[in-house]
């Protein structure tokens, strides 16, 4: 099967406008004849489901949490980018496009990214109209802050809870459609398979997480907005329930997986405290506006935050400011993370484990006063103190990189359709807009762009060609899919081995972090592949899953997800092995500049790696979508 990205012809700035015009429309009276399934209720899923409902489609919306408002978009702290240029500091749609494609280390699609920058301005208008309480200045107009990888202030925010407020906005729009009856909500319901009939996605199979009931749902199109797969590393900043299952099952039914190895390791997270650790907590990137990152010039073993003040100014290495004077502490995330790792690898790390660097606010507090800093970051400082017991107003924070976001995801064309007709992927679940590294405050932008402003147009173009007739769920294809799901659950429950699901998940996490984390090399990746294969075999022989299917069973829920993570891990390693260049968040040790920066190999790797599933235990097949750059010149990314 050939990859067709369906990028419209014409000048970059006109592509989306002309594409919208050329897309077919569904007559308002006919929209009610079409059913759309949306899986996931984060920013992309909730905004898509609400917008479809408003247009008149019949929508079924699914989430595994107890309410759509819990989706992990809610945890995004810092902000959302938009090319409003309200600050009169030289921003424009083209500049946001340029920053995003450069920040992604030239591994993203020009047309998609330009569209994202174009609709960014509409998102802010939409959210304000919904009553999202963005931060404002004293004149009553919207305030902005700066974020990594940009030299303009274009980030809109709502204290340190921007994701929460945007999600509650989308949730309110969704709730409004639930009230009108256009959207039917299925909470505590997990998608376990996609159903394909005559080559088109026509429904899903789900498990009711309260009763265990396996159900089929039929529709004319299916949208997966199921988030990222960072939890393949066990420890990440993702929510405990975040998983790859929906996307992975779609992959096994024919949807190509794009750039699975592109993982974002966020530089400012609270370091690991012990083996009991269940997740990692992010400290917003916005802290790097005022915090200065440093380590002692000479290694000090076990240096505590409380003793940081004892290190004299001249004995501190503000390494980001030293190495990257133009961007300083606001270099993109991949650069900041790699530098923290280098400092710690050189033995200069601080804290009990030596796996941390300082993020110091003392200069900012001296300059702006305690109250100003409190106003900007109060809730983040409180959270830090709650978790670590240290008071960041009195001593520096300790931070270390952690897995945060996955730029990879289901391969989609310009319409956000996967390689399976009628199956769409939106938000973090797709691969499309961030290249090999995502800039801060761009995830919220992409999720809402996809849901509010892209899918409502592109899905109509597809549905306009679909017959109205509905496929009943007693159709053979649904029955077969249900049986596969049930058989797999029975198999998991019957193994009754000696290791818990978490044991396997932690082991997988260790392998991934060790060999497919912040730095990767051919030898390590080969080793990882063997280890994951062995782990998968052991899982299916020795996992212990308790209880029955016909009840609330969190052990079974986790087992289903971890089994898929193990398979995904293998594909990530394959992808990382294949890409013998460094780019963005993917750092191959074999490919670096003399200064130790990521070195791209554009002649060989200027493509999207789209992997096709080939069957149980078989290596996936690689398809390449060549990336064409007509509007930007590929340069070695420099933030000096």
């Amino acid at each position: 099967m050939a990859l067709d990205s369906k990028i419209p012809e014409g000048p970059l700035a006109d592509k989306w406008t002309s594409h919208k015009f050329k897309s077919k429309l569904v007559n308002p009276a006919n929209k009610r004849k079409y059913d759309i399934i949306v899986v996931g209720t984060g920013l992309a899923g909730a905004s898509a489901a609400a917008s479809f409902g408003e247009l008149g489609y019949n929508v079924k919306s699914f989430c595994f949490q107890d309410s759509p408002r819990r989706a992990h978009s809610i945890a995004a702290q810092g902000g959302i980018n938009a090319a409003k240029n309200y600050q009169n500091d030289g921003d424009s749609v083209f500049r946001l496009f340029y920053d995003t494609i450069k920040g992604g280390d030239y591994r993203g699609r020009e047309a998609n990214i330009h569209r994202l920058a174009e609709v960014s301005v509409n998102i802010i208008d939409q959210c304000v109209a919904q009553g999202v309480p963005f931060a404002r200045d004293y004149g009553g107009l919207l305030d902005n802050r700066s974020f990594g990888g940009a030299q303009v202030s274009r980030t809109f925010y709502a204290r340190g809870q921007t994701g929460q407020q945007l999600l509650l906005g989308a949730y309110s729009a969704l709730s409004r459609q639930v009230a009108t009856g256009k959207v039917k909500l299925y909470a505590r319901t997990e998608m376990l398979d996609v159903v394909i009939i005559d080559g088109q996605a026509r429904g899903i199979v789900t498990r009711n997480l309260i009763t265990g009931e396996i159900e089929s749902h039929s529709a004319h199109a299916v949208v997966l907005a199921t988030g990222g797969y960072g939890n393949v590393f066990f420890l990440s900043t993702n929510a405990m329930g975040s998983n790859v299952t929906a996307a992975w099952r779609a992959h096994k039914k024919g949807a190509f997986f794009g750039n699975p190895c592109y993982t974002q390791i966020h530089p400012t997270c609270i370091p690991v405290s012990g083996d009991h650790q269940s997740k990692l907590t992010l400290m917003s990137e916005s802290l790097r506006n005022d915090g200065r990152i440093w380590v002692p010039k000479e290694a000090v073993k076990g240096l505590k935050a409380a003793d940081a003040a004892k290190i004299a100014e001249e004995d501190r290495d503000y390494y980001l400011e030293r190495k990257y004077p133009a961007f300083g502490n606001l270099v993109p995330r991949d650069v900041a993370s790699r530098n923290a790792k280098q400092m710690c690898d050189a033995g200069k790390g601080v804290g009990a484990t030596g796996l941390a660097v300082f993020l110091d606010f003392s200069d900012a507090i001296k300059r702006d006063g305690l109250e100003t800093i409190k106003g900007k970051y109060g809730n983040l400082f409180d959270m830090y103190q709650q978790i670590t017991g240290d008071n960041p107003y009195e001593m520096p924070m300790m931070i270390y990189p952690a897995v945060h976001y996955t730029m990879g995801g289901l391969w989609v064309d310009y319409n956000l359709m996967t390689s399976v007709p009628g199956l769409y992927a939106a938000g973090e679940a797709n691969f499309s807009d961030h290249g090999a590294n995502r800039l801060g405050a761009s995830a919220l932008m992409q999720g809402l762009a996809d849901g509010y402003f892209v899918l409502p147009y592109t899905i109509g173009d597809y549905l306009a060609n679909m017959p109205y007739d509905k496929i009943p769920t007693d159709h053979e294809a649904f029955q077969t899919a249900e049986k596969e799901v049930k058989d797999r659950i029975q198999k998991l429950l019957s193994i009754n081995g000696t290791k818990t699901v978490d044991d396997f998940h932690k082991e997988l996490g260790h392998i991934m972090w060790e060999h497919c984390g912040m730095a990767r090399n051919a030898e390590g990746l080969k080793l990882a592949k063997e280890k994951i294969k062995a782990l998968r075999e052991e899982f299916w022989k020795n996992v212990k899953v308790l209880g029955d299917n016909e009840e609330m069973n969190m052990s079974l829920e986790k087992a289903n997800r971890v089994a898929d993570f193990i398979e995904l891990g293998e594909l990530m390693v394959d992808d990382a092995f294949n890409r013998r260049e460094s780019c963005g968040g993917h750092f191959r040790e074999e490919s670096q500049t003399p200064e130790g920066e990521a070195l791209r190999i554009d002649d060989e790797f200027s493509y999207v790696a789209a992997w096709e599933y080939q069957g149980e235990g078989q290596d996936a097949k690689l398809h390449k979508e060549e990336l064409e750059f007509e509007n930007v010149k590929l340069t070695q990314r420099s933030y000096k």
Binding site: A50, E54, Q65, D66, S67, R69, R70, H72, I74, A75, K84, N122, I124, D125, C127, V128, A129, Q130, G131, P133, F134, A135, R136, D137, Y138, G140, L141, L142, A158, R159, Q161, Q164, Q165, L168, Y171, S172, A173, S175, R176, V178, A179, A187, I210, A239, M240, S273, G274, H276, S278, K279, L282, M383, Q386, I387, Y452, F453, D502, L546, E551, M552
Partner: protein, 250 residues
């Protein structure tokens, strides 16, 4: 440290349920409360016993999913934090910790410590939004909102919908939850058009769900992890009286 846990176990909604005791040892003060329960659950699983079911997701104090009644207080002994942000340094060796689900007839138990809070979703569906469709809205800066008003709206909008307010209230009233949304939208210019119908509908839904009445004891704000204050309940009451006086809606 070593602790004794008394945990509410209930197989499903129809089961009567009872407390069971568990000993946990070598608990690190750096663990979060939920990580302590993870360790217990891993031990139970290894012994072939059903792990304790509890709701949790982001573990960053923002999704609102975690919900434990710990030693008689929603989200445990510390003020202004959710259970997932509670750490074991708040306890000491030898402590007995009693863990229960939220208790309210509008929050029936699914299993163990997991309750059904879909009644909250239905209160929002009754009117917790501004009636705007996607697209066709004015430029964001066309609506100037004084900073003080925007800040107050944000104070209310911070509600995470966890339900601690209901769990703490002797009447199991959802007044603070409902008030937070009513207050946010009543403060903002975007919410003015539907100001009256919104409060009437949301209050009607709250009553239909079986939540109790508010008697202004303030227990809700005292346990609210986001410290949402009583002034929002006062605003809801004013909005409600104003709506009843001014409109013939609902």
């Amino acid at each position: 440290m070593n602790l004794k846990l008394k945990i509410w176990r209930q197989k499903n909604a129809n089961d009567k349920g009872a407390f069971e005791s568990y000993d946990v040892s070598d608990v690190s003060p750096d663990m979060s409360f939920l990580e302590m329960l993870d360790v217990l659950n891993e031990d139970l699983s290894r012994d072939g016993k059903d792990p304790v079911h509890f709701d949790h997701d982001c573990r960053e104090g923002i999704c609102g999913m975690c919900s434990l009644y710990i030693n008689g207080k929603p989200h445990g002994p510390k003020d202004a934090v959710t259970t997932c942000q509670l750490h074991m340094r708040s306890f000491k060796d030898g402590d007995i910790i009693v863990i229960e689900p939220w208790r309210a007839s509008a929050f029936p138990v699914h299993k163990d410590l997991v309750v059904d809070r879909s009644s909250f979703d239905r209160i929002i569906q009754a009117g917790g939004y501004v009636n705007v469709n996607t697209g066709g809205v004015p430029d964001a800066n066309e609506i100037a909102i004084p900073k003080t008003i925007a800040d107050q709206a944000m104070d209310a909008a911070q509600c995470i919908g966890c339900g601690a307010c209901v769990a703490a209230c002797k009447n199991a009233s959802a007044m603070l939850f409902t008030a937070a949304k009513v207050s946010q939208l009543a403060l903002l210019p975007q919410g003015q058009t539907e100001r009256h119908t919104r409060v009437e509908r949301m209050v009607a839904q709250m009553e239909e769900e079986g939540f109790g009445n508010c008697t202004n004891t303030g227990a809700c704000s005292a346990v609210c992890p986001k410290e949402i204050g009583q002034e929002h309940i006062a605003r809801l009451n004013r909005e409600y009286i104003g709506a009843k006086a001014a409109s013939d809606n609902v």
